[in-house]
């Protein structure tokens, strides 16, 4: 019954689709560097009279001194505690009063702050963001009160969820040396020990204009944004920023397995991660092929894992795979499944292993690669259908150290992946000693 509605409509042939997708999805960012070293990028997208204004600092939890886990995120909270001209708590209120909204995020690799505002408010948010880049003023009592907020955030996100606790423990067990082993929010006992001097030192070390990337997306042009950036951010003097530590992993010699049993669990969960190169670290030539492999194995109904575990053998209610190449350090290639209630998790774990082994030994097909490539390319068009999305994509690309051209090169890079490259990447990462398996089990449940 397909195509009944399509008769009168234009449907492009599949052959011409990828090239068209690449073109339509282009974000076309424009980049300049101010005299003080600050990077300014504009991603024009004049669909609505608003802008998304982001600042990314090239500092994240991987840049924390040892014993100070959570300080990057703690500082992110303290950035809302005011400056000599903006009182404590007023930051978000001023943004709201001007018809905007704001928030911030901390990741392993970078920290970001953003405001979404009507386009004519860009000078205001640049002024305020530049102000706290240079003049942050928080006090000990504010820090003590905010410590309780951060702890409550940790309890909400992590401690109240057995699955999140297991994820945290899994990373800690998997990365032998890289700071990716530490939770971004910090270990509870270390959050309790963070002090004024720690937050201040992190701020002074990393929050310099020459370590910042400002991205403005939406109804804006470089001609408008640049002069505003120059008279706000441009006034802040550059200062030396230390090179970021380069961390690397030693060779792994043994497969790792983690099993967590809890009376707070009713639904078991099985996952396995393989250490993998990222776009920056390790054998980077495998990065794009691994993106394609993740789609083939774990995205969609006809993916290898869904077909094997969910459709054909009725072992799991869901199964998938994930890989994100956009990391400074090593990446992980993950496969995961939620067992059906009547199936022992061990059977699901075995089936995941069998699918990995099948891909490693027999490889994937040319048809699978072609389909995955086209799906990934098609999806890039949707990135523009958002106010903040394009700015965030551009900012995070630059923040991990990639050139800005890589943003729009993505569809071509994916298009260049062939079946030989996917199979070589699969053989490279799917090694026993390269894996960690983690299993979440209910107390009294069926383990392996």
């Amino acid at each position: 019954m397909r195509g009944l509605l399509g008769a009168a409509l234009v449907t492009a042939t599949l052959l011409s689709a990828p090239a068209k997708a690449a073109d339509e999805g282009r974000l076309a960012p424009e980049m300049v560097r101010l005299d003080n070293g600050l990077t300014l990028v504009v991603v024009a997208n004049p669909r609505m009279p608003a802008v998304a204004h982001f600042v990314f600092y090239k500092a994240g939890s991987i840049d924390e001194p040892s014993g100070k886990s959570g300080i990057a995120h703690f500082l992110e909270h303290l950035m809302f505690k005011g400056t000599p001209t903006v009182p404590d708590g007023a930051y978000s209120r001023v943004i709201a009063r001007n018809g905007g909204r704001d928030n911030a995020f901390t990741t392993y690799d970078y920290t970001g702050y953003y405001q979404l505002v009507p386009a004519e408010k860009l000078p205001l948010v640049m002024e305020m963001e530049a102000d706290r880049m240079a003049n942050l003023a928080f006090t000990e009592p504010q820090l003590e009160s905010e410590r309780r907020v951060v702890l409550e955030e940790r309890f909400s996100r992590t401690d109240n969820s057995p699955a999140a606790l297991l994820r945290e423990q899994t990373r800690a067990a998997f990365f032998l040396n890289h700071p990716y082993r530490l939770p971004v929010i910090g270990w509870e006992h270390e959050i309790r020990g963070l002090g004024y001097a720690d937050a201040r030192a992190f701020y002074e070390r990393w929050y310099a204009p020459n370590n910042a990337i400002v991205v403005v997306g939406g109804a804006v042009t470089m001609a408008t944004a640049r002069p505003i950036a120059e008279r706000t951010y441009g006034r802040i003097a550059a200062r030396p920023v230390p090179p970021r530590k380069v961390n690397s992993e030693p060779p792994r010699v043994s497969e790792t397995r983690l099993e967590m049993t809890s009376d707070r669990v009713r639904q078991p969960y099985v996952s396995r991660a393989y250490m993998a190169p990222s776009i920056i670290t390790g054998e980077t030539e495998h990065a794009y092929p691994l993106e394609v492999l993740a789609t083939i194995m774990g995205s969609g109904v006809s993916s290898r894992l869904n077909r094997a575990l969910v459709l054909d053998h009725s072992l799991a209610v869901s199964a998938g795979a994930g890989y994100d190449s956009a990391q400074i350090g090593p990446a992980t290639f993950n496969v995961f499944a939620t067992p059906r209630q009547d199936v022992p998790p061990a059977a699901v774990e075995a089936a995941l292993g069998a699918e990995i082994e099948r891909v490693r030994k027999d490889g994937v097909s040319e048809a699978e690669v072609a389909r995955a490539v086209r799906r990934i390319q098609d999806s890039t068009i949707y990135a523009k259908d958002s106010l903040s999305g394009p700015a965030r994509i551009v900012g995070s690309t630059l923040a991990i150290g990639l050139p800005v051209e890589e943003v729009d090169a993505w569809p071509q890079r994916i298009g260049a992946v062939d079946v030989a490259a996917v199979n070589a990447a699969a053989r490279f990462i799917f090694r026993e000693e390269n894996a960690i398996t983690s299993v979440l089990l209910p107390k009294g449940g069926k383990g392996s």
Partner: protein, 456 residues
């Protein structure tokens, strides 16, 4: 991050305003104001359309009356399963073929059940429009309800229920609804229980689909790369196989109960999760705009709200605290939540009661009211940044009966609220003695007024 990122969640569509929205072709230097059109197909089907040719994307949102409140007692979860299985095989295509086809067409299609509605969300690229709309048509008019697809959906639902039993937030919400709406459809478990989900068969799903997916309750919003002349005939083709009339059970009007009660579900965890609520005020109420502004100042305005200031910033008691107004077909509520250390639950509850009482007695200050107006009016278009969001907004304003000129009138409706009016509506809406609190955790020095309901 080179790939499209997940969009931030949490937009409350009922809060949106479209007059500010200026979608325009990327080539146009000064964006022109876009207008929502009422499109009526040759066959008489109505849709509200915002045409935007700047991206090759088309989004369609649909809403039918029905949903969880229609589930038969003992078969709770029927609407959820029915909605899921509608996209698991239709017409000549089985589940795998149907979903693989959607994926090949870069199209997302989801059907989900709300408490009072069945919601359809569809998004595609212009170049796949014909083929992908044909799939939507099949999902609406000819879902297969194959046994294997039902089995998978049932297992997913059971898995979700098992997970929800271990999530403090889910437990708290579930208990709140059960205590607030005893002997009413809203008090029954919306997603079902293990027993009720296992009792649902193919006939139940087929019957629910026949009863609920019908043209007489349907609201449609269309946004993106299409014009009115093209859309009209497409609507007829799209809905040709959908029956004209729904067959819904009546859901009686109800008011939230449990005034003054504190229910504690004891569970070992470092932090307690608290859900609280009371009767609210409907979207169609003439006082709604004033109530919305009052709620913004009290707990709806994020970091601008009094509760956030008292509980998080001054007290350091919680990561977040918020309140919101919700309208269903048969009731209206004011609901809020806070997650806080076990030792601070009593203090947080006292602060919530105190701030609610203070707002009821004094209303917002003139400055607070003025700030709330700017925030509510000017920040509105930020929620409408994607074709899909605008499409579901167009459906929401139809559902709420606000009229196609609502977008032009919205700003004025908020701006004209006077401080005296805000005070009167605050007193009408807010009463700390009406609040029902549900706490999940190990709260200290807090006396429950009644035991929790038996686990389901």
């Amino acid at each position: 991050m080179l790939r499209p990122l997940a969009r931030p969640t949490g937009a409350v569509l009922a809060l949106l305003w479209l007059a500010f929205l200026c979608l325009a072709a990327a080539a146009v230097a000064a964006p022109a104001r876009a207008a929502v059109e009422r499109v009526v197909s040759p066959g008489g089907i109505e849709a509200w359309l915002l045409s935007d040719r700047s991206l090759p994307i088309l989004a369609v949102s649909m809403s039918f009356r029905g949903g969880d409140a229609q589930d038969a007692p003992g078969k709770e979860g029927t609407a959820d399963l029915m909605a899921q299985v509608m996209t698991e095989g239709a017409g000549e295509l089985d589940a795998e073929a149907f979903r693989a086809r959607l994926e090949d067409l870069a199209t997302s299609l989801s059907v989900s059940a709300g408490r009072d509605s069945v919601e359809v969300s569809f998004r595609t690229l212009t170049r796949y429009r014909g083929d992908s709309l044909a799939l939507l048509r099949e999902a609406l008019a000819a879902p297969r309800f194959d046994a294997d697809a039902i089995d998978r959906a049932r297992e997913r639902q059971l898995s979700g229920l098992a997970r929800a039993q271990t999530s403090p937030g889910e437990i708290a919400r579930d208990v709140w609804w059960r205590v607030a709406f005893p002997n009413h459809a809203y008090g029954r478990p919306a997603a079902g229980t293990a027993a009720s989900v296992k009792a649902i068969g193919a006939d139940d799903l087929r019957a629910a689909w026949r009863a609920q997916v019908a043209r007489d309750t349907l609201k449609i919003g269309v946004v993106g790369d299409i014009d009115a002349a093209t859309l009209g005939p497409l609507l007829d083709a799209l809905l040709a196989g959908v029956p004209a009339k729904a067959a819904l059970r009546p859901v009686p009007d109800v008011v939230a109960a449990g005034a003054g009660d504190v229910v504690v579900v004891r569970r070992r965890q470092s932090q307690s999760v608290v859900v609280f609520g009371a009767p609210g005020l409907r979207r169609q109420d003439p006082d709604y705009e004033a109530a919305h502004l009052v709620n913004y100042v009290l707990g709806g305005g994020g970091f601008s709200a009094r509760l956030m200031r008292e509980v998080r910033e001054r007290g350091g008691l919680a990561y977040s605290v918020s309140t919101g107004l919700g309208t269903l077909e048969s009731t209206a509520i004011l609901q809020g939540n806070v997650a806080t250390a076990n030792g601070a639950v009593a203090q947080s509850i006292a602060l919530v009661r105190q701030e609610l009482g203070r707002m009821a007695a004094e209303g917002p200050t003139e400055d607070e009211l003025a700030d709330a107006k700017v925030a509510v009016v000017d920040s509105f278009p930020l929620n409408l940044d994607s074709t899909s969001r605008i499409a579901s907004f167009l459906v929401a304003i139809q559902r709420d009966g606000l009229g196609i000129d609502y977008m032009e009138k919205r700003a004025e409706r908020f701006r004209r609220v006077t401080p005296a009016e805000a005070r009167r509506v605050a007193a009408r809406l807010l009463d700390p003695t009406k609040l029902l609190f549900v706490v999940v955790g190990e709260p200290e020095s807090l006396n429950p007024t009644r035991p929790p309901p038996d686990p389901q």
